[in-house]
């Protein structure tokens, strides 16, 4: 049994309309997503904005209700988890994209990081402070930070505060939702290196949500590519980057800016070829409803959403 198993997950949001405010339609934010992930690994979720990545992450940690499907964590069914299963709950944490708005500006760093501790553990003030100081050290922030407010930190430092809070309860699985997208490249590198360090030190498993494929490739072992709530392709890093099969994946891969001189001309050519293929064969890859087909294996690790006939 995998560490985390997501089976045919659907999250549909009702659209209200008419004068009676009745449900007239549904947004199929996540529409039949399945994947599994091993302990200690990093699983990447990629796709353009609106493709359902965040909603998938939120459903796993219980912030969005699953309309259908099953989520199994370490052998426990955690689909639409009840409060009674708090112990499992605290093993899964989420880090958010925007280090500017995800921290309460009116709270001191001490209170921000201690909040999850206060919710789940009964610690004395001393114990609590000691834990927060340990966490700050782990994420590379000075002990004076404890009395400061979020606006007194840079973006990279704020993201570290977010990480400190996320690991306060010693989680086993962290869902990192575009954790570096709002940061400058140089700061991005600091945070990525640091996330890898604590992954090793604490034996963490990551779901890493992102749209920057350079970052995704750097961080992840396996990758799922989402489009309009469905998977179009799944595979190892090598499957996806060296052998992309779905036109949507090919387009994403072709769009990565490659600054290596050996590949420069080749890449421009590849991008033009892919664009041509995209325009010519879009209809072959998507059904009449514009949605992806079901996944079919093309190797042990590599799945692609191709039409029945092929």
């Amino acid at each position: 049994m995998a560490f985390l198993e997501v089976e045919d997950l659907k999250v549909h949001f009702p659209v209200k309309g008419g004068i009676f405010g009745r449900t007239v339609d549904h947004i199929r934010a996540v529409d039949g997503v399945s994947f599994s992930l091993e302990k200690g690994k990093t699983y990447g979720l990629v796709g353009e904005s609106g493709s359902g990545k965040t909603t998938t992450g939120r459903a796993i940690i219980g912030l969005n209700r699953a309309t259908a499907g099953k989520i199994t964590y370490n052998g426990h069914d955690i689909t639409n988890l009840k409060k009674a299963d708090l112990d499992v709950r605290k093993e899964i944490q989420m880090i958010f994209q925007d280090p500017y708005s995800s921290l309460n500006p009116k709270k001191r760093v001490l209170d921000i990081i201690a909040e999850p501790l206060r919710n789940y553990e009964k610690l004395s003030k001393q114990e609590e402070k000691k834990r927060v100081l340990e966490l700050l050290e782990l994420v590379g922030l000075s002990s004076e930070s404890i009395t400061k407010y979020p606006h007194q930190f840079s973006g990279g430092q704020r993201q570290r505060i977010g990480v400190a809070r996320a690991i306060a309860l010693k989680p086993k699985l962290i869902i990192a939702d575009e954790p570096v997208s709002a940061l400058d490249v140089s700061v991005q590198a600091q945070v990525l290196n640091f996330m890898e360090d604590i992954q090793e030190a604490l034996g963490l498993t990551y779901i890493f949500i992102g749209h920057d494929l350079g970052v995704i490739r750097h961080m992840c072992d396996d990758i799922g590519i989402m489009y309009k709530g469905r998977y179009v392709e799944e595979g190892t890093v090598d499957d996806i980057f060296d052998n992309p099969q779905h036109i949507y994946t090919k387009r994403l891969v072709a769009a990565i800016p490659d600054i290596n001189p050996e590949n420069r001309r080749e890449q421009i050519y590849y991008r033009q070829e892919v664009q041509k293929e995209y325009e010519q064969s879009y209809d072959d890859y998507f059904g009449d409803d514009g949605l992806a087909y079901g996944l079919k294996p093309i190797s042990e690790t590599h799945l692609v959403a191709l039409p029945e006939k092929g």
Binding site: V185, A189, H211, M219, N260
Partner: protein
């Protein structure tokens, strides 16, 4: 090639309650017809302030040009009246800013905002303008253009608004297009499309582009020349090849090394430690010294001048002084330099 724009010793400051924020501290660059110049640097390095000084969009009176000239086709536009400047902005220089709402009129239909420029500056009839507007909207990737035409900016999503702004900027066929992080908020595939679109239009109209970004990777395929900014100064400038394959400034090394590239998935990224200086009190000497693992004693005392590396390539670092110790750039950067050198060999071999 003739110089379309020349910026000379530009200094821009802001008066604030805490004192003078020295956002831009003496920069020089020029822009030739048909060329794409990328200005790259971390947030706060002064990129946007530079573009706002050029377009006279600094928030007055706090923001002001302290010294310097900005010559557009030989005329110093820092002396232009607001009215002259407005005309220049409508016709010769257009801008796409990070935040699309700075460029959109919230009370006017999007289609009309695009068509306006076409009618005014490209002398099109209403019907022609409508057709071209639809074409432009489709070009920038806005589906159902005919319907979108009649919508207001608030009915567009963030990404859609930015695409509309690109369409407006391109509509008036500018001599200079200033794009300030135009694709930062957009998805990668759309990013690539918009960059390519800008290049196409440039080829067609021979316009020049100033492309501002914090992400060096984005400019690899679009820039002819690159200027790297740090703490209000240009610290290195050169052709794209100079900057990517023969970088001299440790800050440029840091920017290049911190990018996860396709062959870096196994190793630790070369991160730049710390954060940029406070521009209220810029440090003495080389502003990058506190974050520079290769800093020399002299960096804390004296600001380095621009050293010339080649006809096209300049960098402001004491490491280029003849007495400085010889220092190797980080490995990932070296590898790229070698790759480029060997590619040159290959080219020579073929010829």
């Amino acid at each position: 090639m003739s110089k379309l724009l020349e910026v000379k010793d530009l200094r821009v400051s802001f008066k604030t309650y805490s004192g003078e924020v020295q956002a831009v501290r003496g920069i020089d660059f020029d822009l030739k017809k048909g060329e794409t110049l990328a200005i790259v640097g971390e947030s706060g390095s002064g990129k946007s302030v530079t573009t706002k000084a050029i377009t006279k969009l600094l928030p007055e009176p706090q923001g002001y040009i302290k010294t310097g000239e900005i010559l557009f086709e030989g005329q110093d536009i820092t002396k232009y009246s607001n009215k002259q400047m407005q005309k220049l902005r409508g016709r010769d220089i257009s801008t796409v800013f990070q935040d699309p709402m700075t460029s959109l009129n919230p009370t006017m239909k999007v289609g009309k905002q695009i068509a306006e420029g076409l009618i005014k500056h490209r002398k099109m009839s209403k019907a022609q303008a409508r057709e071209k507007t639809i074409e432009l909207l489709e070009l920038v990737g806005i589906p159902q253009a005919e319907k979108r035409l009649n919508q207001f900016p608030h009915q567009f999503s963030g990404g859609m608004r930015q695409r509309a702004v690109v369409a407006i900027a391109l509509a008036c066929n500018p001599k200079i297009l200033i794009a300030d992080e135009p694709t930062t908020a957009l998805d990668v595939t759309i990013q690539a499309q918009i960059l390519e679109l800008m290049k196409d239009i440039q080829r067609e109209m021979d316009s020049a582009i100033i492309f501002i970004t914090h992400d060096l990777g984005v400019v690899a395929n679009v820039a002819d020349r690159v200027a790297v900014m740090y703490a209000g100064k240009i610290v290195e400038v050169g052709t794209a090849d100079d900057i990517f394959y023969n970088p001299k400034h440790p800050y440029t090394w840091g920017l290049l090394g911190s990018m996860p590239t396709l062959d870096s998935d196994e190793e630790e990224l070369f991160a730049i430690p710390g954060s940029p200086p406070d521009m209220l009190n810029p440090p003495e000497g080389d502003a990058f010294a506190p974050r520079n693992r290769f800093a020399l004693e002299i960096d804390t005392q004296m600001e380095p001048p621009m050293f010339q590396v080649s006809d096209t390539h300049y960098a402001a670092t004491w490491l280029l002084h003849e007495y400085a110790p010889k220092i190797e750039p980080p490995e990932s950067v070296q590898r790229r330099m070698q790759g480029f050198a060997s590619m040159d060999d290959g080219k020579d071999g073929e010829a």
